[in-house]
């Protein structure tokens, strides 16, 4: 199959959605002639013009509000937060308005928009441009939270998100933008709320999100040579969460390691651990459920410190070894 980068896959999804449906448009800072800070929307302005590829002033609350208002009146906006960090400025609109409108209005309104956000560390962008804030939104009823980990998922999930009738927070990852993988040319969707068993294995279940999926895969290759077989599950959508494959996997392996980039305290890992412990998998556990996550700190500028602030392949390898050996 043809290979595309994660970024190209996202762009293709937007292009195909816009070709198919006149109601779809893109709005955000520098999404036009600049092509987005990371180049995701490069070329779309030429194809669709400034009425559908809309550059905004630096006004994140305005971008979110524009999406909500347009969505509730029949359009299908895709908003962009240039760095996911800047969503803090749009929080009121997203959390108090977009998320709650459908319920508050007795189910009579639909708010179908996708907010794309570029998250994560690893680019030397320091504390205010490197956060992983997805779990904030998991905590808000009324928002779906999607986090693709590969080019294939990026396209299929974005197309599904655009078709969805409810607000979706779509967390992309900056260091994944240039990674490549097979992506079909035709339009396809990956259902929102479907976990993906990325790798099968019998010894330990790793539940990983976003960039941590490929790190877990790399760790799995190394561990396989030691005779340890990881099963890797990517939830893909944090909310709604497809629990079944996770629970079934833990029943099989008896051990679970949760890996995400966001800081540990209050992160999605706690939720996943609780899901496992509240399920029938509890009786099958032969080790505590462990979380490997970002250190509870802002992302430092220094390259080496930045590297150590979030889980890396070697940390996954080490944690797995410990768990398998019963050292916890």
């Amino acid at each position: 199959m043809r290979e595309l980068s994660y970024m190209e896959a996202l762009r293709e999804a937007m292009r195909q959605a816009m070709q198919k449906d006149d109601r779809v448009f893109l709005i955000g800072e520098d999404v036009g002639v600049y092509g987005g800070a990371f180049g995701v929307s490069a070329g779309l302005l030429d194809e669709f013009g400034p009425k559908r590829i809309i550059d905004t002033p630096i006004s994140e609350a305005g971008i979110a509000g524009a999406c909500i208002g347009a969505a509730v009146t029949g359009m299908r906006p895709i908003g962009e937060m240039q760095f996911s960090d800047f969503v803090v400025i749009a929080m009121e609109q997203l959390v108090m308005q977009g998320a709650k409108m459908r319920f508050m209005f007795g189910g009579k309104a639909e708010v179908p928009f996708v907010m794309r956000l570029a998250g994560g560390s690893g680019t030397g962008a320091a504390a205010q441009h490197s956060e992983s804030l997805e779990n904030w939104f998991v905590h808000v009823p009324g928002l779906k939270v999607v986090m693709p980990s590969s080019p294939y998922d990026a396209k299929g999930l974005l197309l599904a998100a655009i078709e969805d009738n409810n607000p979706i927070m779509f967390f992309e990852n900056k260091v994944l933008y240039k990674t490549k993988g097979p992506v079909p040319e035709e339009m396809y969707t990956i259902p929102i709320g479907q976990s993906h068993v990325v790798r099968e294995g019998k010894d330990l279940t790793v539940v990983a999100t976003s960039v941590m999926v490929s790190r877990a895969q790399e760790a799995a290759e190394q561990l396989s040579q030691e005779g340890i077989e990881l099963e890797i599950i990517d939830p893909r959508t944090l909310k709604p969460l497809d629990e079944k494959p996770i629970v079934e996997s833990v029943i099989k392996t008896g051990k679970a390691l949760i890996v995400h980039e966001a800081v540990k305290t209050g992160g999605f890992g706690g939720e996943l651990a609780a899901v496992i412990m509240e399920s029938e998998a509890f009786g099958y556990l032969d080790a505590p459920v462990k979380r490997l996550a970002g250190l509870d700190m802002p992302i430092p500028y220094n390259r080496n410190l930045e590297y150590h602030a979030v889980p890396q392949v070697e940390n996954i390898v080490e944690e797995t070894r410990k768990l398998v050996k019963g050292q916890y």
Partner: protein
């Protein structure tokens, strides 16, 4: 305004001559710092991104130096010049830029967050307009502590379109806070041209919405900026409240390292390069081309030494990664 001996010649009646020469040197130093920064980035010696103020040095030279050491600075992401003009030490600045322990923020902040709390420099800013509301608090604290300090708050044209701009200017104006809002209008917020993002012709027009004084000055003219900031400071110290100053300038380089600059023409950039603030200020000081070359040589040498200092200073120890984390 700092006092000077009565006999000293004043440049256009405003800046003492010896101080003006110092400012010219620091403008050249700023440019040398940024040219070197770009080069180091190209060589992979620094990572992340950086925002160069080349072409905009006139604003920095006229702003901080018009104030007192006891005043406060809230800087932007494009703030290398302001940092140096506020009295920043080049070695420690370079070390921060290279992520070293000897840097101002021990390598944790980098170019976008460089601060020197000791000199009331409350930091550069990664969030556009993030410093504007904070300046209200600093102003309020000055008022409560009954000192005659002022706050210099810097921001770009793009920042004036964040909601925070409105909240900040309104609060500062209703409480007569000693805040100098200095907007560096360099014609673009990343790829967003000023004309596309505003219906007003001048950002300073917005001052009227808050009932405060607003003015637009030539940001490539050090003296004009110096004068405007001095007057705003005088007002603020008297309790007459904030001023909104818009300094018109232009960024010669891309927004950051990833900018292909498809939103403007080479001709436009060239046209602005003819209004080089360094050359213009040098002319006012009767420094000729040869004199400027000498100054550049000296600045480059200082940069070379700073790089040497930074390169030879230690990386932060990974074992200290959680130091200072309290919650």
């Amino acid at each position: 305004m700092p006092t000077s001996s009565k006999k000293e010649k004043m440049i256009e009646g405003v800046i003492p001559e010896s101080k003006a020469h110092e400012l010219l040197y620091k403008m050249v130093l700023t440019r040398a710092f940024e040219e070197n920064a770009e080069e180091m980035y190209g060589l992979g010696k620094v990572h992340g991104t950086m925002h160069l103020s080349i072409g905009e040095e006139g604003v920095a030279a006229g702003a901080g130096p018009a104030l007192r050491k006891s005043d406060y600075l809230l800087n932007t992401h494009r703030g290398h010049g302001h940092f140096l003009m506020w009295g920043g030490d080049l070695n420690r600045m370079m070390a921060e830029f290279m992520g070293k322990e000897a840097g101002y923020c021990r390598g944790r902040g980098g170019s976008m967050h460089i601060a020197d709390v000791e000199s009331n420099n409350l930091g550069a800013q990664g969030i556009v307009a993030g410093n504007l509301p904070i300046s209200v608090g600093v102003g309020l604290s000055i008022q409560m502590r009954k000192t005659d300090q002022v706050v210099l708050t810097l921001f770009g044209d793009g920042a004036a379109n964040e909601g925070a701009f409105h909240e900040s200017l309104n609060m500062a104006s209703i409480w007569n806070l000693p805040v100098i809002y200095l907007c560096e209008n360099n014609q673009y917020a990343m790829s967003m041209a000023f004309e596309r993002a505003f219906r007003v012709e001048q950002i300073s027009e917005r001052a009227s919405a808050y009932g405060i004084k607003g003015l637009t000055v030539d940001g490539n003219d050090v003296v004009a900026v110096y004068k405007a900031v001095s007057e705003a400071a005088e007002q603020a110290r008297k309790g007459a409240g904030p001023t909104l100053i818009e300094a018109i300038t232009y960024r010669w380089k891309g927004h950051s390292k990833s900018d292909r600059q498809l939103y403007r023409t080479r001709e436009e950039v060239k046209k602005w390069m003819e209004k080089d603030p360094i050359k213009r200020f040098a002319a006012k000081l009767d420094v000729d081309e040869a004199g400027l070359k000498e100054i550049e040589k000296k600045a480059k040498e200082e940069i070379r030494k700073a790089v040497e200092f930074a390169e030879s200073s230690p990386e932060p120890d990974v074992n200290t990664i959680l130091e200072g984390i309290y919650a």
